[in-house]
Subunit: 316 residues, 3 copies
């Protein structure tokens, strides 16, 4: 479902980032999340993506599969269940993220990373697969270049996702090895094209949707990069989305909500490149009227003004 | 127009920082800016200074002059027009900032920097010069030492500002090469005096008002520095203001609103040194009751309490 | 006074951090502090600890003792008096922090640090000792390892505290030389045990309560560390508290409020190790419904929900 107005695409999906690597917690309870889902829905978001089942020793539910290899810190509540129920209530599709140890796969133990995830995918499907909102999977491991056996290994996880769930779609959201990711070590656009051609040639039958993060290259290069990405994704008959980041990578601390003008540029470039859908990382911290960043609330207002979305009864 | 009470100067001017280099956006629309100007006015601010027409590829209006040499990112609204109208509505004087490419003048292409600005000054005056709030100019390039030909080059821009506008005043707001700017590379106060004597000897007939930023030296050295600056500015028959920064340079992230006690010290030192006016960088993020930093709201309350300013109907 | 529910300890004490080293100011006035003390009281906080009388050139009251050796920046209000009056009003115990020059004791001039503090302790007791809320002392100097003569020198200050005040208790809150403090230079748990055994063997008759900061080691190591600390503190017949930090040390900027789940873990570990009381650094910035960090307000709500504390009339 795409909305278009003034030639600019809307954001219709968001990540849910409740085991965060580098984003401070909103410290919300269920009631706040419910309000937040209502706000998402109001602006046309129909898709939510749990960014990961767990990261290192922390998990969103008390997973037996992860616990076999990693001593988890206590899990006092089942966030997966809560997100699925909220997605059902607000009539959204939910994509369920896999587990990122943040250790094994960076550390020569790729097989451990795969093994945990194969078992975890089974556990997730058994535990949550009946929820009507469960619409697919998200590959939690983020990478920006062709690293050795990473694509081949992750392919096994994606294949298992599809196998257990009767072929539900699988999303990935890689980054670009640009100057806002790695400074001087950035690769140029042709090297990017070459490496991602190789990566997608491995993953194309296992992953359905590729939503590149749009924040690691300069605004003046971004359209070219999105176009290259779109060509590659088309070539392998996958679906191209854009992950229109709603936080600002240009500020002296990481990360405040983005300037509305920057988000407009990025939505424009995505539309011009012809991607199928725009999602964002992520609504709840950086675009929500309930975020702990007050400028996120203002970003929400600017966004709604721009698209003529009536939010009178939502926020006062 | 100076307010004095309890021997301490008030802040009567502020920068408008809507193309920011390192300050996250408030994401305000016109209505929020209008409220903000009303809050400024209420505490006695009579002067607003647009910090720059543009920075690198971003501009506050769709400038033909800049576009000749720099491919601008899309400009969807005319912030210059908005600021001028709000200044008129709230009966304030507006000083209009020039353009800082952030590239050419750091990169041996000073002449390009000058050329863009000469043409831009003409364009600004033609487009906005009739607005009754247009009270003068602001030199957007900030520097702290005597760098080669920078003063001589910027003099050309300042001269053009005065020439096209019938001699309207020109402000600059340099920094001090102190330890909070450059750590161990800081220069001592005598070296500062020597270099700024040379700089002002070049600029004194072109720039009218010098408002040194007050944040780059320790609080216990600040009064001496402001006194040195005042002497130099007097020597060249220019006017001395102090740019009393309202953000805190001593915190582990850049930048939260300043501690009210620190602002009091800096206002005291400025008064003791006898400057003519205190302005701040800047009200809207760091002192405004509507800022996205809640401690800015509290700073506003402390400031108003201190000076006995009644704000009951303004903020509730 | 300990509260227990669901096997988890509550926080019953907090630091007051109004001369901050690295925490941006809330910019509160007396009315805001009064509201904040009421919120503390409501959740069961019975103990407040002024983290320091002064830091370098800044002080919470205009101290003659400090001024003899350090040229203080102007002190426009007496925060010590304000905190004591609020503690009385809200029926809390107040522990008064000593002075940390942040220079002398790091710079081979330990005796200067001691001399200022000996005289300051006398001045504090003379000026504020009659307040009924004055319940003891806090040793402002924080350290994590056995540094030369630091423990022996600080013992003199602690002894003076007890001597002037008829033996009122003295608190210290050291840190652990863990990876979140010093990265690769972290010491292991056995080295930690060895050094703190030596330190406490010097301080045990002068300091009564040791409240280790709990934020510098990984969550999965924390319980072991708290247990070691508890054993050492018991061995020297001192009292063990835990300083359950309410800010998050894992984020890319320093410091947002902590994720509620992390605070739960740390409260659990403290309870399991059997400490006598949990305090926090600190309520007003990181857990308060009035903090300038909105996620602190949410942390307060989560905390109250968890312990079944009714706050309806407090926050709306």
């Amino acid at each position: 479902m795409l909305f278009r107005q003034k030639g600019i695409m809307r954001i219709t999906g968001t990540f849910l980032d409740e085991i965060t690597f580098d984003i401070p917690s909103n410290n919300w309870g269920t009631a706040q999340w419910d309000m937040d889902f209502a706000a998402m829905k109001r602006i046309g978001i129909d898709t939510v993506i749990i960014i990961r089942s767990g990261l290192n020793r922390q998990a969103i539910f008390n997973s037996k599969a992860i616990s076999k290899k990693v001593k988890l810190l206590p899990v006092h509540s089942d966030l997966a269940q809560m997100f699925l129920e909220l997605a059902e209530k607000h009539k959204m599709k939910l994509f369920f993220g896999t587990y990122d140890s943040n250790i094994f796969w960076r550390d020569g133990r790729l097989q451990d990373e795969v093994d945990i995830n194969l078992e975890l995918v089974d556990e997730i499907w058994q535990k949550y697969g009946k929820c009507s909102a469960f619409a697919g999977w998200y590959m939690a491991h983020e990478f920006g270049r062709l690293y050795g056996d990473v694509p081949k290994s992750l392919k096994k996880v994606a294949d298992r996702c599809k196998a257990v769930s009767g072929g539900l779609p699988v999303i990935m959201s890689p980054y670009m090895w640009g100057k806002k990711a790695v400074g001087e070590d950035a690769i140029d656009i042709e090297q990017h094209r070459k490496e991602w051609n190789d990566i997608l040639s491995i993953l194309h039958k296992s992953v359905d949707i590729v939503a590149f993060q749009d924040g690691h290259v300069d605004y003046n290069e971004l359209k070219d990069y999105i176009c290259v990405n779109k060509q590659l994704i088309n070539k392998y008959q996958m679906t191209a989305w854009s992950n229109v980041e709603s936080f600002d990578r240009d500020m002296p601390f990481n990360f405040p909500p983005i300037d509305w003008r920057k988000m407009q540029w990025k939505l424009d470039f995505a539309a011009q490149a012809g991607v199928d859908k725009c999602i964002t990382f992520e609504f709840s911290h950086f675009m929500s009227p309930y975020s702990t960043w007050p400028s996120a609330r203002n970003l929400f207002f600017r966004y709604c003004e721009h698209f003529g979305i009536d939010i009178k009864e939502l926020c006062d």
